[in-house]
Amino acid sequence: MANDKDLIRLHDVHKTYHLGEVDVKVLKGISLSILQGEMVALMGASGSGKSTLMNILGCLDRPSSGEYWLGGKLVSGMSPNQRALVRNQQMGFVFQNFNLLPRTSALENVMMPLNYTPTHISRRQGKKRAVAMLELVGLGERMDHHPSQLSGGQQQRVAIARALINNPPLLFADEPTGNLDSKTSREVLEMFGRINQQENITIIIVTHDANIAKVAPRVIRISDGVIVDGAFEGQPEPAAAGGGR
């Protein structure tokens, strides 16, 4: 069912939380595949399990059962330290609330993930790379600014530059426009499109907003712990509808 071009392949993934004596089944048998270079929107209402799915895809959490293959490697069996390495090398995160380090320059923020790379990158090299990334997101002029001196859109662009510093094949964006006005939202989404096109980076945007999901060629819909739509590439694109609050 999956081919070698699959970047991500999930097979029958379950996630159950044990809250006291009650077992809460959040994911009930998720199977999906995503190709290298795709731009995908992961949509679902709050409580649908989309955040849990994203955490598993982002190697922040591990499934209770099922298999998760990333780039041909079985991630679901890895130790926490191995998963940390995967997060560092293979993926970048962009969050709704930017999560930049306060009182730290944009440049330092972008360079932060380099602290955790296993291979040595000299400070000069790292700086060069960070500058390139900031120029890519159009912030070449504001490298020394602190987050408090940047607008929301600029902060999110710094976060995107940070996510790309290690040249990952995969980028997660968790409600990336949730804290932005519609104009800057559009700019940020356009930037995702450009990065996806130019750098051939797979982008997964997690959102509850159908308008945002629209920018992605493919939408995976999740509801009540199961995927209702778009689990495999090539399935018919559904009309933008539903979801949201």
């Binding site: 090398q89 330092e108 602290n115 296993p118």
Partner: protein
């Protein structure tokens, strides 16, 4: 594991930079937090160095008194079951002193000492009660390590032989009797015997036990022994010489004492033949200087042998004298100052613990405050041990910087207290500095570990969501 070891320096470098950046973000708080450590370490340094200064000051004043000095006093007299205590027996003579000087090679200087007490009166009616009237030889001041005179000088060997009526006085006596006027050349009377002041010593201050060392009058020992009449001096002659002193006359007819006869009566021929008559010459004590502090034990042993021989003591007989060295005093004082330093150190150690708790507290606050940052770092690939190390390094750096500042502060305090205020010999103690630095780093690790461990155990998802 090999990867871990080879990447360790790199990891440490990155971690240090991250810690510096994190601490700089909250500089004021970092400084305030560190205050506990700063004060604790400063207290340790100051305590150790001031303690060292005190003990050096004590050593110095012992050395001033004569660290090489030994004092030989006669043994205890006893009759029946009653013991009159140390020094009550009359067994030491000036000849013993001579003998020690000739025969012991560990000894540098030997002086016999005759002590007495009494009222000293000047011609114009000033008077002063003395309890340190010392009869001795010309080398006495060498033994006391006391060489400077305000005016005049020491009596000579000739004065000694002639039992000349001269004396040297201390600063206190000079002030009390002459009060600013020249003392040299004036006469003072002790028990009716007039002595001419030929020298005034420079002030020396209190001794180890606070006794005024300047309240002193020094004269040739024969002068004190045979011209002055009192218990310590002439009485000894009486008891020792028994019936021999029935026909004595006083050389000092100007001030008849009505007391003790001084010399056995001798003919003119005898006087011409032997100007310094043979006398019974019990003395109160003998002061000895060893060649060096290291020679003190050898000197003690030699003196013991010499005196036992000259006193004709059998092997089974107890010595009729006792030898005291300043080393005993020095040891006792060393123990006391050591204990005091230890006491102060433990107080300082408590303040270090308090400071460490402060560090732990603020690190816990910091971990809570930066939960989102920890989550973020984990999401970009930080492992639990990276986070642990980061917070541990932060707390160690806090403590290390606090330790460094504390060392500076402590050095300043000890310099002010020891050198400036007290004038004691200053003492930079490299050991104290090293220990203080080590302790502050240890405090950082000990009290930083729990918060760092707590941070490393955070769940990245929870941490990222933390508000």
């Amino acid at each position: 594991m090999i990867y871990f070891l080879t990447s360790l320096p790199l990891m440490m470098m990155r971690t240090f930079r991250t810690a510096v950046v994190a601490l700089r973000r909250n500089l004021m708080r970092a400084v305030l937090t560190t205050l506990g450590i700063i004060i604790g370490i400063a207290a340790v340094i100051a305590t150790v160095e001031i303690g060292g200064g005190v003990s050096r000051a004590i050593q110095a004043s012992i050395a001033d008194f004569g660290a090489n000095n030994l004092i030989i006093i006669p043994g205890a007299a006893s009759s029946g079951s009653h013991n009159w205590g140390e020094g009550s027996q009359l067994t030491l003579t000036a000849d013993d002193a001579l003998m020690i000087g000739e025969q012991s090679d560990a000894v540098h200087t030997v002086v016999p000492v005759v002590q007495t007490a009494g009222q000293v009166v000047t011609d114009d009616g000033h008077n002063w009660q003395m309890n340190q009237i010392v009869g001795t030889t010309t080398e006495y001041l060498d033994v006391r390590n006391w060489h400077d005179f305000q005016e005049g000088g020491m009596f000579t060997d000739l004065d000694l032989r002639n039992a000349a009526r001269v004396c040297v006085i201390g600063d206190t006596l000079d002030r009390e009797l002459f009060g600013g006027r020249t003392a040299v050349g004036k006469q003072v009377r002790i028990q009716g015997v007039a002595l001419t002041v030929i020298g005034v010593l420079k002030a020396k201050g209190g001794d180890l036990f606070g006794n005024d060392q300047d309240n002193i009058l020094i004269a040739p020992w024969r002068t004190i022994k045979f011209r002055l009449s009192n218990k310590a001096g002439a009485d000894a002659v009486t008891t020792a010489t028994g019936g021999l002193n029935t026909a004595m006359n006083s050389l000092n007819n100007l001030f008849p004492t009505g007391g003790q006869p001084l010399y056995p009566e001798r003919s003119d021929i005898q006087l011409a033949d032997a100007p310094a008559p043979i006398r019974f010459s019990n003395i109160n004590l003998i002061q000895v200087t060893a060649k060096s502090a290291d020679d003190v034990p050898a000197a003690t042993a030699q003196i013991d042998t010499i005196l036992r021989t000259t006193h004709r003591l059998r092997a089974d007989q107890a010595s009729d004298f006792q030898i005291h060295t300043m080393q005993e005093v020095s040891q006792i004082l060393g123990t006391i100052t050591g204990l005091l330093t230890l006491l102060l150190l433990s107080v300082a150690a408590i303040s270090l613990v308090v400071g460490g708790v402060g560090i732990m507290n603020i690190m816990l606050v910091s971990v809570t405050e930066r939960t989102r940052e920890i989550g973020l770092r984990m999401s970009v690939g930080a492992r639990g041990r990276d986070i642990l190390l980061q917070f541990l390094v932060e707390s160690v750096m806090l403590c290390g910087a606090g330790g460094a500042l504390g060392i500076l502060l402590g050095e300043l305090a000890s310099w002010l207290a020891v050198t400036k205020l007290m004038g004691w010999p200053a003492g930079f103690s490299p050991l104290a500095v090293a220990v203080a630095f080590g302790v502050s780093a240890a405090v950082g690790i000990t009290f930083g570990f729990y918060p760092a461990w707590k941070a490393s155990r955070l769940d990245p998802i929870e941490a990222l969501r933390y508000e």
